[in-house]
């Protein structure tokens, strides 16, 4: 398409943000953001409400002017380019479909503005892709929320932008439709091979869809990596708590012996894989995911070499079916949660005296001195 040149598309167009900052008065919404989104990847921006996700997207699309920093598409600096001159399209958080145009014209809008003569085939194909071809003559007001969402997606996608920005596009959908759309979105992304930057505060959504996740907190990127990397090796307590659940224990490094780090926490000796612990001395936070922790009645046999925390009491047992979730209080007052898979083992009643134990290679270490509750409240909010 010749119009590509007008919009300045480039080959190998990674999206790169360099020192991107946005301040509203004295409040910093986005703080010195540096990141690269490789072309053709599915990138998720994950973070709690108000952490600056929308603001970041708006700067990429050009609807908001950065206070500082540059935005590059491939080797081109697009920071000062008007939004309508960027090869970037947005699926808005609130859809923003044009109420005076029917579905067909909404989808055709971008093509028409770029002077594409024959829009019939692309529009029909796009409507088929989102499976709403039969609603072409309707006005947006006559569609359900989920249908509007798919039209918003079609309206942006039809332009084959270099980068597609999705601002919580699935937020308004019910769980079932949401899962369905997640699969659909991922399929479309693989099919058309465009770069997707997907904003969400649903960690499960980010994990299932993205190649790379950036966890944002208060305008900064806390950690970036593949879903598995982030889950297995979080680098801060915020990420450990925000992405899934974690048991975090504060302790002190006693010594390093080869690839084993020995830690005392709550008066008990525990070990960590040196490869998964950046701390070599002093304060440390030891983390382990609830599904990697096991329960044993006090006195029962525990596999050799396992880390163990003794003197625990079960205070809550929730049988979920596939698993049982326990809350155990240690003698020192700390709470440990344990998810045990339903493999036919005995279910421990509240009040039972137990030992919690886990394979040392399953734990991870974090820099000491952090707030071990950081990011955790958001999970509860989401669940509520």
């Amino acid at each position: 398409m010749s119009s590509n040149d007008v919009l300045g598309r480039t080959e190998g167009g990674d999206l790169r943000l360099a020192g991107l900052t946005k301040r509203y008065g004295s409040f910093t919404a986005v703080d010195d953001l540096d990141l690269t989104v490789p072309q053709g990847s599915f990138f998720a921006l994950l973070g709690a409400s108000g952490c600056g996700k929308t603001t970041t997207l708006r700067m990429v699309s050009g609807l908001e002017e950065p206070t500082a920093g540059r935005i590059f598409l491939g080797d081109q600096d697009v920071t000062d380019r008007k939004p309508y001159r960027r090869p970037v399209n947005t699926v808005f958080q609130n859809y923003a479909l044009f109420p005076h145009l029917d579905i067909y014209e909404n989808v055709a809008f971008g093509l028409r503005r770029r002077g594409v003569k024959d829009v019939k085939k692309p529009v029909t194909d796009m409507l088929d892709l989102v499976e709403l071809g039969h609603l072409a003559k309707r006005k947006p007001g006559q569609l359900s929320g989920g249908q509007q969402q798919r039209i918003a997606l079609a309206r942006a996608l039809i332009n084959q932008p270099q980068v597609l920005l999705l601002d919580e596009p699935l937020g308004a959908l019910d769980l079932k439709l949401r899962r369905q759309m997640q699969i659909e979105l991922k399929r479309i992304q693989l099919e058309v091979g465009l770069t997707f930057v997907h904003v969400t505060h649903d960690q499960e959504e980010a994990m299932t869809m993205a190649d790379t996740i950036a966890v944002m907190n208060a305008g900064r990127i806390e950690q970036m990596g593949s879903p598995a990397e982030l889950y297995e090796n979080p680098s801060t307590t915020f990420v450990a708590n925000f992405l899934g659940q974690s048991n975090l224990l504060t302790g002190t490094v006693e010594g390093v012996d080869g690839d084993v780090v020995t830690v005392t926490a709550h008066g008990q000796r525990l070990t960590l894989d040196a490869a998964r612990c950046p701390v070599r001395s002093g304060a440390v936070i030891l983390g382990v995911r609830p599904e990697k922790v096991h329960l044993a009645r006090t006195g029962a046999e525990i596999p050799a070499g396992h880390n163990r925390l003794t003197g625990g009491t079960v205070v809550d047992t929730s049988f979920i079916g596939v698993s049982t979730q326990y809350l155990v209080t240690l003698a020192t007052g700390e709470e440990v949660s344990v998810f045990e898979q339903n493999t036919g083992r005995e279910i421990q009643r509240p009040g039972t005296e137990v030992v919690v134990h886990w394979d040392p290679s399953q734990g991870f270490g974090l820099e000491g001195g952090q707030d071990i509750e950081a990011g955790a409240a958001d999970i509860e909010e989401d669940a509520a």
Binding site: Y84, F92, N94, F98, R113, R114, R155
Partner: protein, 310 residues
């Protein structure tokens, strides 16, 4: 409007007696409608009826008028006042167009850039209307006076030479010319254009503008493709609210015009108040104007409804 709500004592007597065994009728809507209906009958239907009937009568003020089905009144109404119809038409269309051209940017600015000052700015648009229509029109005699700054400037800039050649102004004066009439009309009717425009622009979600920018629209194209179509109800409402009173207006022509800027309203006034035999023809002209305006407005609305105007 609370005064219209009927008290129970008021509705009870009109209810049929129980012995009638009819299903109980609910009179409340009728009681509520009654004052309005009465108003329409007395001040709308009766005058229309008397006008139409007067338009086919003959006679004079001293001997009285009789219904003689004198249709010739209409041929006189249609043939003798062509210039006035033309003036009324041209002035009111010009007034509507200028009001739209001036009012749209004002309404747009207040709706989208007004922020917390929106209400204040709209109040400023309306406040001048609290002064009498006549006083405001007479004020334009001062504004456009020969030794006033406006005319001085236009003279110095040699604009009046051009406009006078075109017949819009007369010699070195603006006053007592078609231009002055249209100026006065635009000034007087501008709030009627701005109000409905503002109402419909204010309802547009500014995020649609962002969607437009995102989909390759320059600010102008965004206005053309998104804002304008969405504000059409305001454009139609505003132009109608301006055009309908403007076509019947004769105060501006009388106070700011000259003998060659006569409009239909002035002729009707003459026929009714200064001519002992003028009632029938005056009524015929009124009926022609009413029907003419109605036809124009209906075809305009129909065209607007099919989006031909955008």
């Amino acid at each position: 409007m609370t005064a219209v709500v009927p008290s129970p004592e008021l509705t009870e007597p009109v209810e049929p007696p129980p012995s009638a065994r009819k299903p109980k009728r609910n009179w409340t809507p009728w009681v509520l409608l009654a004052p309005g209906l009465l108003w329409l009958v007395v001040f709308f239907l009766v005058p229309i009826f008397t006008s139409v009937s007067a338009s086919v009568q003959t006679g004079d003020y001293d001997d009285g008028f009789k219904l003689t089905w004198h249709w010739a009144n209409y041929s006189q109404a249609l043939t003798d006042y062509g210039v006035q119809y033309l003036h009324s038409g041209i002035y009111s269309v010009l007034c509507t167009v200028f009001c739209l051209a001036l009012g749209y940017p004002v309404a747009y600015f207040i709706a989208f850039k007004g922020g917390k000052y929106k209400s204040l700015l709209m109040a400023l648009v309306i406040v001048p209307s609290f002064t009498s229509f006549l006083i405001r029109t007479i004020a334009w005699k001062t504004i456009l006076a020969d030794n006033g700054p406006v005319v001085q400037f236009l003279n110095d800039a040699h604009v009046l030479k051009l406009t006078s050649a075109l017949g819009w102004t007369v010699g070195n004066h603006v006053l007592a010319s078609p231009a002055a009439v249209v100026c006065g009309m635009v000034y007087n009717f501008l709030p009627f254009t701005i109000l409905p425009l503002y109402t419909s622009l204010e309802k547009i979600d500014p995020r649609l503008h962002e969607a437009g920018h995102d989909l390759y629209c320059s600010p102008f194209t965004t206005w053309r493709r998104v804002t304008l179509p969405l504000s059409m109800p305001g454009v139609i409402g505003g132009t109608l609210l301006t055009f309908i009173p403007a076509i019947g207006d004769y105060i501006n022509a009388q106070l700011l015009g000259n003998p060659n800027t006569g409009v239909v309203g002035q002729k009707i006034e003459d026929l009714f108040l200064r001519n002992t035999q003028g009632y029938p023809v005056g009524s015929a002209i009124s009926v022609v104007m009413m029907v003419g305006t109605l036809v124009l407005v209906m075809s305009y609305i129909r065209k607007a409804g099919t989006e031909d105007l955008i």
